[in-house]
């Protein structure tokens, strides 16, 4: 493939996106990177046609790796040579460009709608083949195959599982007419593509939460003119109301073993955190007092819960045993810390942290106590860890619209997933599901 089709497709994408009234998330890199691995992804031969928005498999892999902040892919316009399918790579040329790793790939058709996508990963310094994999795909699942390839490359070079094949769920608020808002709960790929609507309502939706097996989403719906907790199976669409008691029913959070759901209930008094046994429906209250106790999130060992409470005057994060009892305060930096998410290894907690500049996402290391403000927005909220703990997804405001963004846990790389014409918020990253 020559350079000009690549430039052409980039231009086509820009035209499509700038003129588009369509509701598809797109990626924009807002910050640069140090210490990222220089890599080049060569065009994959044998591709049948563009994938959603004119992307190619290599283009998707390049976007994924770049977004993680751990890689610096060489732009195709800077490629020192064009390598034909099955041809030899002149590694010295690539080394001369500072590239350290190189990926080649091919798609081979196998009958009616089936294909195999293969790739090889090379160390440019000595031309050594580091890894090679084949992934089955159909035209419909080609994007997912590309994400799996990104995961394989990430894992081969960093020794950690990649999160590119995981999905994200989020809420969209679409203001058509002045008073007519439509709310949608959507699930998409981790790059925002292939969105699928899970539930649509003319009343607000909030607080989506993934089940540990990735098959269901719990969420809050105002369809009965009050906040109630529902669970929906993604494959069948079946919905069940888990709690519709008087007062607030909100903030569902699945236990790691999938058998319990923490949630916030107020029932005519100040909100408290409860744990519901999903099978029996039985409830155990685990917080008390006159404060507003909410936003529960489980530690990965399922033994305790981190939650938000204003018992000391303004919201801070606390930790309590899943059996209830005395809560321990976790956050002491600043006047407002809320909306916790715990990292998959239980070592860090992300939160909404308010300071004189507004609401930002901050991270606290639970072992060392180290506190790091990760973002610099004014209205950042809803942090959610990637299942490999490498990044935090969150909601922010850009040009007057709600958009999603991702930031690496060292705060060095931030990237916006951009949305046209609709407000996106409350993202949650799915668990690993295989």
């Amino acid at each position: 493939m020559t350079k000009s089709p690549r430039i052409l497709f980039a231009l086509v994408i820009l035209c499509l996106l700038s003129g588009s009234a369509q509701a598809v998330l797109e990626i924009e890199i807002t910050q640069g990177v140090e210490g990222a691995l220089p890599i080049a992804i060569l065009p994959f031969s044998g591709q049948a046609g563009p994938l959603g928005d004119g992307d190619t498999i290599d283009g998707i892999v390049e976007s994924d790796l770049k977004r993680s902040g751990r890689f610096a892919p060489l732009s195709p316009t800077a490629f020192p040579e064009q390598v034909p399918a099955g041809g030899a790579v002149d590694f010295d040329l690539w080394g001369g460009k500072g590239v350290e790793y190189l990926v080649t790939g091919a798609v081979s058709s196998q009958g009616a709608d089936g294909a195999t996508v293969s790739f090889e990963l090379f160390d440019v310094y000595d031309g050594r083949r580091l890894a090679g994999y084949s992934v089955p795909a159909t035209q419909a699942t080609m994007r997912k195959a590309a994400h799996r390839i990104s995961d394989k490359i990430y894992e081969a070079l960093l020794g950690e599982r990649g999160a590119f094949s995981s999905r994200i769920a989020y809420i969209i608020s679409n203001r058509g007419g002045r008073d007519q808002v439509v709310y949608r709960l959507e699930v998409s790929d981790s790059d925002g593509y292939d969105p699928r609507s899970v539930f649509t309502s003319s009343k607000p939706l909030m607080s989506p939460a993934w089940s540990p097996d990735g098959k269901s989403l719990a969420y809050v719906s105002f369809e009965n003119d009050r906040p109630e907790v529902f669970v929906q199976n993604l494959a069948t669409g079946q919905r069940d109301k888990l709690s519709g008691r008087a007062g607030i029913n909100s903030a569902p959070a699945w236990s790691p073993d999938g058998r319990r759901l923490a949630m916030t209930l107020s029932g005519g008094r100040a909100p408290d955190v409860y744990i519901m046994d999903i099978n029996s429906g039985g409830l155990t209250r685990i917080t008390q007092g006159t404060g507003n106790n909410t936003g529960p999130v489980w530690m990965p060992d399922g033994q305790s819960i981190v939650f938000t409470s204003d018992r000391s005057g303004r919201p801070q994060l606390y930790q309590v045993s899943a059996k209830g009892g005395k809560a321990k305060r976790l956050t002491f930096e600043g006047r407002y810390n809320a909306a916790a998410d715990v990292s998959p290894d239980g070592g860090k907690v992300a939160m909404v942290h308010e300071d004189s500049n507004g609401d930002r996402i901050a991270l606290q290391d639970l072992r060392s106590g180290e506190f790091l403000v990760l973002t610099d927005g004014r209205l950042d909220e809803s942090p959610s860890f990637a299942p490999n703990g490498s990044m935090v997804l969150y909601a922010t405001e850009n040009r007057g619209r709600g958009v999603l963004a991702a930031v690496s846990v060292d705060g060095k790389v931030r990237q916006i997933l951009r949305q046209h014409n609709e407000d996106v918020r409350e993202p949650v990253w799915s668990p690993f599901t295989d």
């Binding site: 607080s207 009050r226 906040p227 607030i248 100040a270 909410t294 936003g295 919201p315 909306a339 209205l379």
Partner: protein, 184 residues
């Protein structure tokens, strides 16, 4: 409920209503003249003790028709709050006293108190703050003699703003409780 408790409740209500007659010192935005307060017809349960209480002097119209009068204080259906607070301002109290008397006088009339917040901070925490604001209003109304069964408290948190802007002008409009009269 036993007889003695029921009497006690009516006496307490009567006490509260007549106690509320004395001025608490704030200016009162009267709807206009009318030396005789119009007493609302007693509801089906015969709230005799309340409906035919001592005339309230210069106080506004206590019949539900006041709700259709754009000049009446009860035309005001929203009260506002400071950031992160559920405290009622003096103005809010005056509005709520008027609604309270109207509702106490019309015990079959129900209202929904819908609490809201501005967009700052955690959405979940804001559900609680919105509810706290609505409960503040509810308590104020009950102090005026409104029955608990007339009041429904709901929080929308930050989810349904009145103003979709992202500055203090908008936020001020969103920190509110809306009083929604049901069936009207």
């Amino acid at each position: 409920m036993g007889i003695s408790r029921s009497w006690g409740m009516w006496l307490a209500l009567l006490f509260l209503v007549s106690g509320g007659c004395s001025s608490t010192g704030g200016q009162r935005a009267d709807s206009g003249a009318g030396a005789d307060a119009q007493t609302a017809p007693a509801g089906p349960e015969g709230a005799a003790g309340v409906g035919q209480a001592t005339p309230l002097g210069e106080d506004p119209d206590l019949s539900l028709t006041a709700l259709d009068d754009p000049d009446s204080i009860v035309a005001v259906r929203v009260v506002y709050f400071d950031y992160d607070s559920s405290e009622l301002s003096e103005t809010s109290r005056e509005v709520l006293i008027a609604h309270g008397r109207l509702l106490a006088n019309n015990p079959q009339q129900k209202v929904r108190l819908e609490g809201h917040t501005d967009e700052r901070g955690s959405r979940e925490y804001n559900l609680g703050l919105g509810e706290r604001r609505a409960r503040s209003v509810s308590q104020m109304l009950m102090a005026e003699g409104v029955g608990g069964d007339q009041l429904e408290v709901v929080s929308y948190g930050e989810e349904t703003p009145a103003d979709f802007g992202h500055d203090e002008t908008a936020w001020q409009q969103n920190r509110r409780v809306e009083i929604v009269y049901l069936g009207r």
